[in-house]
């Protein structure tokens, strides 16, 4: 048996387990089906194998083997395209769509997780060869902790204060607190909205957050997550019954108008608080050179 077989097998196993840990099915329900999971586990296995053979290749002075990693990179970029295309296709059939910003965030996560797997397989194989097997186990556990930390970003409750406010009509205008949402003409629709509608106002905790929650993709993500978790009083052919978020131009607060089937206010607050802050929506105006000078 070759001296590298055990370290490589160890690295590949740890890498594949890492991919499995990162592949959770939660309220987003994606990937929810067995075949979707098999695809990602198989790709995770390939990524782990690539990471694991890198060190033995270098030790055997096969430096050109590193070029395989570039093939891996283009392969995993393809994963991102695949996920994006699938989700965009499905999005048009959602009652409350995810929105492109959310989809892009999910697609990026799928790509980057494969790179994390390469990294995990790489360091565990390295320690196995450089030290011994129990050193590699310690490194594997440390990297599991690392990726767990790495994969969860911040959530809405860290950047905004969430308050429930009443939904009311001024003539045909629908308001949440003092934020105008939309014009609803028919009295019947107004009755339905008064019965099922719920309003929340999200107040940004600082100036940077204003631009983040103003992002249309971030707003759509909030509506999608709330509608998935609490149900939505809506059907195709009822465009008037649509959850919406509008902004107060004066102070950057946003008014969230939703039509949940589950009328639990506390639960709704928690769900809004747990919505991920999308990487692509984060803005840091306070980090610009101009504002740093002052």
């Amino acid at each position: 048996m070759n001296e590298y077989i055990l370290p490589i097998a160890f690295g590949v196993t740890i890498g594949t387990i890492a991919r499995f840990i990162m592949l959770r099915t939660d309220y987003r329900q994606y990937p929810t089906y067995l075949h979707g999971k098999v695809i990602h586990l198989a790709l995770g296995f390939i990524a782990a194998a690539l990471g694991a053979v890198a060190i033995p290749a270098i030790m055997e002075k096969e430096f050109t083997a590193v070029t395989f990693l570039t093939i891996a990179a283009s392969q995993f970029r393809e994963v991102r395209n695949m996920e994006r295309n699938t989700l965009v296709e499905l999005d048009s059939y959602e009652l409350v769509p995810r929105g492109n910003t959310y989809i892009e965030g999910i697609a990026i996560a799928f790509e980057s997780r494969n790179y994390l797997v390469i990294f995990v397989a790489f360091v565990t194989t390295l320690t196995y060869i450089a030290l011994n097997w129990w050193g590699a186990i310690i490194v594997a556990i440390l990297s599991f902790l690392f990726i767990r930390r790495f994969m969860s970003g911040s959530t809405m409750k860290e950047i905004v204060d969430i308050e429930q406010k009443d939904v009311h009509f001024d003539g045909a205008g629908l308001y949440v607190d003092n934020i105008y949402i939309m014009n609803i003409g028919l009295p019947d629709r107004q009755k339905e909205i008064a019965q099922y509608g719920m309003g929340f106002v999200l107040t940004p905790k600082n100036f940077d957050v204003r631009s983040t929650i103003a992002n249309l993709g971030q707003r759509q993500a909030i509506l999608h997550d709330v509608s998935v978790s609490l149900g939505v009083f809506r059907d195709s052919g009822t465009p008037a019954l649509v959850p919406l978020i509008k902004r107060d131009l004066d102070d950057g607060r946003i008014g969230v108008f939703i039509l949940p089937q589950n009328q639990d206010v506390e639960k709704a607050k928690k769900i809004i608080g747990a919505v991920p802050v999308l990487e692509n929506a984060i803005r840091m105006p306070s980090e610009s050179k101009v504002s740093k000078k002052n």
Binding site: G171, M182, I184, G185, L186, T238
Partner: protein, 61 residues
């Protein structure tokens, strides 16, 4: 240029208030106007917006 929103129908009880391109539905009273607006909203997948008490429009968003 793409037109994203369009007024598909105008429903009114006061015909002196409207004229122009979109189909105009004249109604006898407010009740009839609401019924027509509700039906049109369901049929053409638009939203009924009230411009005033005697004038509704159906807009496709």
């Amino acid at each position: 240029m793409n037109i994203e929103k369009a007024i598909l129908a105008v429903i009114t009880v006061n015909k002196t208030k409207v004229t122009g391109g979109a189909p105009i539905f004249l109604c006898e009273n407010k009740d009839e106007m609401e019924k027509v607006a509700a039906n049109l909203e369901a049929i053409i997948d638009g939203i009924s917006h009230a411009l005033s008490d005697e004038l509704y429009i159906i807009v496709k968003h």
